[in-house]
């Protein structure tokens, strides 16, 4: 597909309650502008995001999935973010192997005080997904 001017990617975002969700909230109250392409889902920990949720979103037509967790050492549950990183690494390998591509799934550490980083991440992700074009699974009746 390549770049497409009228294509607005849909991003499902699984955001950790303690850090990234609060960071997104800070971006809002700080009136930082960022594209309205994300559909946030608050989760208690990035470590609770089973790859199945991400796959479900992608196969149902999300163009990208963002998982946001606490910085290393900051996890409210001690090490959920480290475990998420391992699961996401496995998921990425599988996405690459079967033609979805790891670029559609982003895992980022964004703290509660990093509203600006959250906004910047969303901007970057939207730009990347516009380059990638729509997720082919969206209109694939077999998936």
């Amino acid at each position: 597909m390549g770049a497409c001017e009228h294509f607005e990617p849909r991003i499902v975002a699984f955001l950790c309650n303690w850090c990234t969700y609060t960071g997104a909230d800070l971006a809002g109250v700080s009136r930082i502008q960022y594209p309205p392409n994300i559909r946030p889902i608050r989760v208690m920990c990035s470590g609770s995001v089973d790859p199945m949720y991400i796959l479900k979103a992608l196969l149902d037509g999300a163009d990208g999935v963002l998982v946001g967790g606490c910085h290393p050492g900051d996890c409210h549950y001690v090490n959920g973010n480290y475990k998420a990183r391992r699961r996401l690494a496995v998921l990425s390998a599988i996405l690459d192997e079967f033609g979805i591509g790891r670029d559609r799934v982003w895992f980022r550490f964004i703290s509660a005080s990093e509203g600006a980083l959250f906004a910047e991440t969303v901007r970057d992700m939207v730009a990347t997904l516009k380059e990638l074009g729509p997720n082919p699974a969206r209109t694939l009746w077999l998936a």
């Binding site: 990183r85 391992r86 699961r87």
Partner: protein, 364 residues
């Protein structure tokens, strides 16, 4: 590691192995022996044998079929106490699956006497039954043709390794006792009247090396072929490979490593309302039903491919013969490479999902 020799008499290897296994039972090396047995001509099942006579009559330690991956059966038998030692005759892929199950706390290693045995491949159990066990001309399964582990990993679980690759009947069968084997048990086994097996072991190891070169070449060609068919063509090609899936989930049942006691795909999560079906099919223009085929297989890959031992039980269990071994081999090769994790090598290797390092992967 101590190499002994099981001599093979006029009645052949099967009989020699039956005698060896029966002796293990007789001298109390184990309370029971789990071994493949012939139930009817060509029908092989596992039996948890306690009667020496049954072992001598029915045990088929060399039958070239794997009715189920024995790791699943062993796990079922030794998951809960009270204690008793079960000797289990295991192919290399069964041994490796059992090591993974031990790490997943679904088998108690103290209850197992693992007897690994060389494996040159198995054929389709249905074809074997239809041929009434005449084994010579049956094709070996794809999973076995490209198997990179024809010999059991000797350090996997304390026990015995039976080796015959490269040996003919006059050479006998090598029985090596692993270093971790209980001293008392080792002493009992050494008194079974076995002879010295070092020379035969050397011969076997040379043959194994040559075999591994062939296998490596077959595996590389297989992966190259598989990837050119699927990886480069996007998700649609992958979905087409799986399009015949009936949603029976037999692959999951047959998989020794799909370890959840209750699978999420059997829960209410996947009981959709009519409106959800209609919304999804509206968005896509149509919807394959039974639905969630791709989600199911990709999720299984995410959950268990790190531990996948490539036994091909999933494909053997598939009623519509989907190329599951091929797809899971592609996935597990990639995921295992992420952590350099060799499933089934040793109970001391950490399961990647149960641990982490602070400095690794991305993001940091």
């Amino acid at each position: 590691m101590k190499d002994l020799l099981v001599t093979v008499g006029q009645d052949g290897r099967t009989q020699a192995l039956r005698e060896f296994l029966a002796k293990l039972l007789e001298v109390g090396a184990a309370d029971a022996l789990l071994v493949p047995a012939e139930a009817a001509p060509g029908t092989i099942t596992h039996v948890l044998a306690r009667d020496v006579g049954l072992v001598m009559r029915a045990a088929e330690p060399l039958a070239p079929v794997m009715p189920v991956n024995a790791a699943s059966v062993v796990s079922e038998v030794v998951r809960k106490g009270p204690r008793g030692r079960v000797a289990a005759l295991l192919r290399p892929c069964e041994m490796r699956a059992l090591v993974e199950l031990v790490k997943l706390k679904q088998a108690a290693p103290e209850n197992i006497l693992a007897i690994g045995i060389d494996c040159l491949g198995t054929c389709d159990p249905v074809a074997y039954r239809e041929a009434s066990g005449r084994r010579d001309d049956l094709p070996v399964r794809e999973a076995c043709r490209v198997c990179l582990n024809p010999t059991p990993s000797e350090a996997a679980l304390p026990g015995i390794t039976l080796g015959f690759i490269g040996l003919d009947s006059t050479d006998g069968i090598v029985a090596s006792l692993s270093d971790g084997l209980d001293q008392g048990l080792a002493a009992v086994i050494e008194k079974l009247g076995l002879t010295e097996g070092e020379a035969a072991q050397r011969k076997r190891k040379e043959a194994v090396q040559a075999l591994m070169q062939e296998r490596r070449a077959s595996y590389d060609a297989f992966i190259k072929n598989a990837e050119s068919a699927v990886s480069s063509s996007g998700i649609e090609a992958f979905a087409r490979e799986l399009a015949g899936c009936t949603g029976c989930h037999n692959c999951r049942v047959a998989c020794p490593l799909c370890y959840c006691r209750e699978c999420i795909f059997d829960t209410d999560t996947f009981e959709y309302e009519t409106g959800q079906f209609l919304r999804r099919s509206g968005r896509k223009g149509g919807l394959k039903v039974p639905q969630d085929t791709v989600l199911y297989h990709l999720t299984r890959m995410n959950h268990m491919s790190l531990s996948c031992v490539g036994c091909g039980s999933c494909e053997a269990a598939c009623p519509v013969h989907l190329p599951l071994f091929r797809l899971f081999a592609m996935a597990s090769r990639r995921t295992q490479a992420v952590f350099g994790y060799p499933p089934g090598r040793s109970v001391d290797d950490e399961l990647p999902f149960t641990t982490f390092r602070e400095e690794e992967l991305e993001p940091r």
